[in-house]
């Protein structure tokens, strides 16, 4: 249904984990649940950090009690936010909320940070640092779901009540149907969405296309409501899955773009503060703190993404920190220039001792503009650029250009085969994407488009 996390599996939980460990609203005895999630040797052990409470989870070889687990996760979240300057005091932040445990924890932590900021704003005399604003977005995919409407309505009502219960700090709630990505271009948006999605034959491709549409939907909400950042609940487990599935799809070049804390290639920058937390820990925290999650909207991933998720689940059984290792590997790859905030004066709000850390970074690297895939926004690799250049010169029709502006992975798993289908497919894509293609440099392309209606047959020599 609706997951606003950036990776292949909804809500930051990973396929196997989502379906097995997070059965909705069952009355499992808490001990039983904890027993399944934790790897501790027995209830008797006491917390390796504070020595007090009973161990609920083993992280990095140390058994932690509920309090220390909470503190550790919040610490990671806060460190990610502050050390990457993710949220400025004047920002308004849109949290992508899927109802899953990861984005639920992100919502909770963001709320706590906001409450603290409000508190100190109220207490301070000078009122120098205002408290940032928080909004919450939920992408409603009921148009594509087989679940009964009433259940979805209920789930959405739950989500609204979760958000409205978080006080102080008013949080605007945006519930956007996925088909709104076509707003203003189409009357039958639902129909258009269904037609577009049904044109993709590959299961994995369909799932990935939905992911891209979801991101577009979030971007639209953020743009229309003046948000400066989009915060996602992508956790280490989800990112580990993404690392492997991107590798398997041949997206090795663009992979590092997706695993950084900050990603400014979008109109509204995206930040991932839960990148260092495992989905198991986040689910556990939701249970311990009785944070309500909405599992009804969860949907297991299929195709390549599903295969990868079950592979990662198996690796996790063998070694609980394997997901961290996978994420760390991807972090050692060279990030792109858009993986940090670089606008002039962006870091001015930071204490002066921290500012140099951000400002000196880009002095030694030349930043050239990347070319992005129109569908998934992956930066182009050298061979894709090469292909694009050569197509630009000989392209006769718009569709050839559009095709050349798709990365090889989208080309294979999303674009339908055959020119006719291709034409139709591109006409169904949100204008927001196809308008990005700059048709101007390809002279004969637009020429041909102008006389298109008068040509009888596509009998020319193109490809």
């Amino acid at each position: 249904m609706a997951a606003a996390s950036s990776s292949s599996c909804g809500g930051g939980g990973c396929g196997a984990n989502c379906s097995s460990s997070a059965s909705p609203a069952t009355d499992d005895a808490p001990e039983e649940k904890l027993g399944r999630l934790s790897i501790s040797t027995g209830g008797a052990a006491s917390c390796g950090k504070c020595g007090g409470g009973a161990v609920v989870v083993v992280a990095g070889g140390v058994g932690l009690c509920a309090e220390c687990l909470r503190a550790q996760l919040f610490g990671k979240f806060k460190l990610a936010v502050t050390s990457n300057a993710m949220v400025r005091p004047t920002d308004s932040v849109l949290l992508a909320f899927s109802g899953g445990p990861a984005s639920r924890v992100a919502l909770q932590f963001l709320h706590e940070m906001q409450s603290k900021a409000i508190e100190s704003w109220d207490a301070s005399n000078s009122q120098a640092l205002p408290a940032f604003d928080v909004g919450v977005a939920f992408v409603n995919e009921s148009a594509l779901s087989s679940k009964p409407k009433c259940e979805i309505e209920l789930a959405i009502a739950d989500i609204k009540s979760i958000v409205s219960s978080l006080l102080p700090g008013d949080k605007a709630m945006h519930i956007a149907p996925l088909e709104d990505v076509f707003s203003s271009e189409s009357n039958d948006r639902e129909g258009r969405l269904r037609e577009l999605v049904s044109m993709v034959n590959d299961d994995t491709g369909r799932e990935d296309l939905l992911q891209c549409l979801r991101m577009l939907s979030l971007q639209k909400i953020a743009l229309q409501n003046g948000y400066a950042k989009i915060m996602m609940g992508s956790c280490a487990s989800a990112i580990a899955c993404h690392v492997l599935s991107a590798t398997v799809k041949g997206q090795g070049y663009s992979l590092p773009a997706d695993v950084q804390y900050v990603d400014t290639r979008w109109e509204v920058p995206v930040v991932l503060p839960l990148r260092d937390c495992l989905s198991q820990e986040l689910s556990l925290l939701c249970e311990l703190d009785s944070l309500k999650t909405e599992q009804l909207l969860d949907r297991p991933c299929s195709g390549i993404n599903g295969l990868v998720a079950s592979f990662v689940a198996r690796l996790r059984e063998e070694n609980p920190s394997r997901e961290h290792t996978i994420v760390r590997t991807a972090q050692k790859l060279k990030p792109f220039s858009f993986n940090k905030f670089s606008a002039n004066g962006y870091h001015d709000f930071l204490p002066s001792r921290l500012r140099p850390k951000f400002q000196n970074v880009d002095s030694d690297e030349s930043t050239f503009p990347e070319v992005f895939c129109i569908i998934c926004r992956s930066p182009f690799s050298e061979s894709e650029l090469h292909n694009l250049e050569s197509t630009k010169h000989k392209a006769q029709k718009k569709i050839d250009l559009y095709t050349a502006y798709c990365c090889q992975s989208c080309h294979f798993q999303i674009l339908p085969g055959g020119t006719n289908l291709g034409d139709q497919f591109f006409s169904l894509l949100p204008k927001f994407w196809t308008e990005r293609v700059d048709t101007a440099p390809a002279g004969n392309c637009s020429l041909r488009d102008q006389i298109e209606d008068y040509l009888l047959e596509d009998d020319d020599d193109e490809n």
């Binding site: 041949g250 997206q251 996978i326 590997t329």
Partner: protein
């Protein structure tokens, strides 16, 4: 072998390539239904293209084929000698086998290689662990048990191949690593966080700065197609797993690759593409080249890994040089003056040079 069952169902459809003969098989790489003759042609042509496009060989070179008697190296020896004749590469080809001294496994597979020597008319050289190190794998397993024995075997074989190649005075070694192997290695390096090896493991030629470079003409060739080729050509190969080999970790990744291939055949090539395109910073430190003080083999430490392991065996301390203690062990031996360097880079000395892990 069971995987060959598919083509039987092709029925009366015509070959998608020539359109004349009856399709006899579904090509694992593309799922095209083609006839046997066309399969031979595309299979051999792809390898030829790989060789030509990557300038793997120069005319007049002496090339040793690492031959274990298994399917990959047998098909490699056969195809390479065919292509050498057909396209006039002008290569002097040799078979080079390593006898690890594993009773019930290597002795049988070496019989296969000896038959290949006659069948393909390629001179064969066998180098044994017994001669080089005075230890057979059987002895080593007796001394250290079944755990970690692959570490010894892997390190020793890498060096043994180089030594055998030096004896043959060849310019290059080719190995039968196929696309599945390389894809698997890419994944394993991601799972281990080994960025230095991740950057090298998709190179088609490795060790160019060393004395004898190695290359992998099967880099883009699917394992299933190799099996299919051997099966249809009725090549004589040996197909038993090493009796000491069970390796659960590699097994995981292998199984995953097979699942992926079933779902999307091109996934294997895509993984290799990803591996080639990873943005790995050029400042990633590579180990410095040196030579082993004891045996003169290339290494990045004072002593090469084989000498460290051998030392352990001979002194009755077989744990020396294995796993985590390797940093301590090898480090204490050879690292005294290089303390500023990061240990993870130092560790990868030999294995790293040849780009692969546990073969």
């Amino acid at each position: 072998m069971q995987s060959i069952a598919a083509p039987a169902r092709a029925g009366s459809r015509l070959c998608a390539r020539c359109g004349e003969r009856k399709a006899a098989l579904k090509r694992p790489k593309t799922l095209e239904q083609i006839c046997r003759e066309c399969f031979y042609v595309v299979f051999e042509d792809e390898i030829h293209r790989t060789i030509v496009d990557n300038n793997l060989f120069k005319a007049g070179e002496r090339v040793a084929i690492g031959a274990s008697g298994g399917k990959d190296s047998t098909v490699l020896a056969y195809v390479l000698s065919e292509l050498n004749k057909r396209h006039n590469y002008g290569l002097d080809l040799f078979l080079l086998s390593i006898d690890e001294g594993i009773t019930g496994y290597r002795d049988d597979s070496l019989e296969t290689v000896k038959r290949n020597e006659l069948q393909y008319g390629l001179p064969l050289k066998i180098v044994s662990y017994k001669d080089l190190y005075d230890w057979t794998m059987d002895d080593i397993v007796k001394a250290i048990g079944l755990k970690n024995n692959c570490t010894f075997c892997g390190v020793f074989r890498r060096q043994a191949l180089d030594r055998g190649a030096a004896l043959l005075k060849v310019d290059k070694i080719v190995t039968g690593h196929n696309a599945d192997d390389i894809a698997e290695t890419v994944l394993l390096n991601i799972l281990r966080g080994d960025i230095a090896r991740l950057s090298r493991c998709t190179f088609i030629t490795t060790g160019e700065d060393g004395p004898i470079p190695r290359c992998k003409p099967f880099k883009y060739t699917y394992e299933k197609e190799i099996v299919m080729y051997a099966y249809f050509k009725k090549l004589d190969y040996f197909s038993t797993e090493c009796i000491y080999s069970p390796n659960a970790y590699r097994g995981f990744a292998r199984e995953f690759i097979k699942d992926l291939e079933r779902m999307r055949p091109r996934a294997i090539l895509d993984i290799i593409t990803s591996g080639e395109n990873f943005r790995i910073s050029t400042t990633t430190r590579m180990p410095e080249q040196g030579t082993c003080e004891r045996c003169g083999y290339i290494c990045s430490q004072k002593l090469c890994k084989a000498c460290v392991l051998l030392d352990g065996l001979n002194r009755g301390l077989p744990k020396l040089g294995i796993g985590r203690s390797a940093k301590g062990g090898a480090g204490a031996d050879g690292n005294g003056e290089r303390q500023g360097k990061r240990p993870e880079r130092n560790r990868s000395s030999l294995q790293g040079k040849h780009g692969n892990l546990d073969f």
